[in-house]
């Protein structure tokens, strides 16, 4: 913990602000997941956490550790990249499963499966 005390105040403020921003966005995403009504709306809520929520926390970590270790510390970029590239996979799986279910149940307001060859 003594290493963290060497951070200058401006950097501490910046790191803290980024952490608060990231965790607030993630919290908002979780809150949305809890309280939104439709499944498709709920799909959007966690993307707050996976985009700027993650990015802000990683930025804070990068700044803090680059200072403490006295060299450029960019491991976090790999985490960010992996999060960014893998979220669409889960999202598509969930979305398509929901579409399939709703179409099979004949829910109203769900766009029909594309007709072969004569759509748009």
């Amino acid at each position: 913990m003594t290493a963290l005390a060497t951070l200058p105040p401006w950097l501490m403020l910046l790191v803290a602000a980024l952490l608060v921003l990231g965790s607030t966005l993630t919290l908002l995403g979780a809150f949305g997941l809890l309280h939104l009504k439709s499944f498709y709306d709920r799909l959007h809520a966690p993307t707050l956490g996976t985009s700027w929520g993650t990015a802000a926390i990683l930025l804070a970590s990068m700044l803090c550790w680059s200072w403490v270790q006295d060299r450029v510390f960019v491991h976090e970029l790999v985490i960010g990249l992996c999060v960014m590239v893998t979220t669409p996979v889960t999202l598509m799986l969930l979305g398509r499963a929901a579409l399939h279910r709703d179409r099979a149940e004949g829910q109203p307001d769900i766009p029909p499966a594309p007709d072969r060859g004569e759509q748009d």
Partner: protein
């Protein structure tokens, strides 16, 4: 070249990642490159076609545009999450968008972009008709979304991928 390095981009990225995760030294450079080469060869057995990138400038411009859009849409969606209960005026909806993109890598990049910007969710792509079904969190004007995807992202991707 192409026989030993069927996926040059993938191998480069893996070497870079190896060096990022370890301390930079000659030994790690050699080890990382060896692993990346082997991984590239192994991946070629699954996916023989390496992505063909025709131009890098549109991709760099896309990165810039998308980073701005991510910040903007994060702000917009976060605000909607908070005010939704009080006003209740937000309407979400589905949009079906005809795409000109056919390259699988370009489509994957588009999927990452649309997922990373909160407010749009990629639901279903139909490869035969070439249409994409999107779910939009805050639907104001459907035509606006068509124009946004077509002019802002798709045009750049079409330029970048052969």
């Amino acid at each position: 070249m192409s026989r030993f390095l069927p996926h040059p981009l993938l191998s480069c990225a893996l070497t870079l990642m190896w060096l990022l995760l370890t301390r930079f030294s000659l030994g790690h450079l050699v080890l990382g490159s060896a692993i990346a080469l082997f991984a590239g060869l192994a991946f070629a057995r699954i996916e023989p076609q390496a992505p063909r990138i025709r131009a890098w400038t549109p991709l760099l411009r896309l990165v810039g545009i998308v980073s701005v859009d991510i910040v903007r849409s994060n702000w917009a969606v976060a605000r909607l999450m908070l005010t939704n209960g009080r006003h209740g005026a937000r309407k979400s909806g589905f949009v079906r968008i005809p795409l000109r993109l056919r390259d699988p890598v370009a489509l994957a990049v588009l999927a990452v972009v649309l997922t990373a910007t909160p407010g749009t969710a990629w639901l279903e792509y139909d490869p035969e008709a070439g249409t994409l079904l999107l779910h939009v969190f805050d639907m104001i004007d459907e035509a606006e979304w068509h124009a946004l995807i077509r002019d802002r992202y798709e045009a750049l991707l079409l330029e970048a991928f052969a």
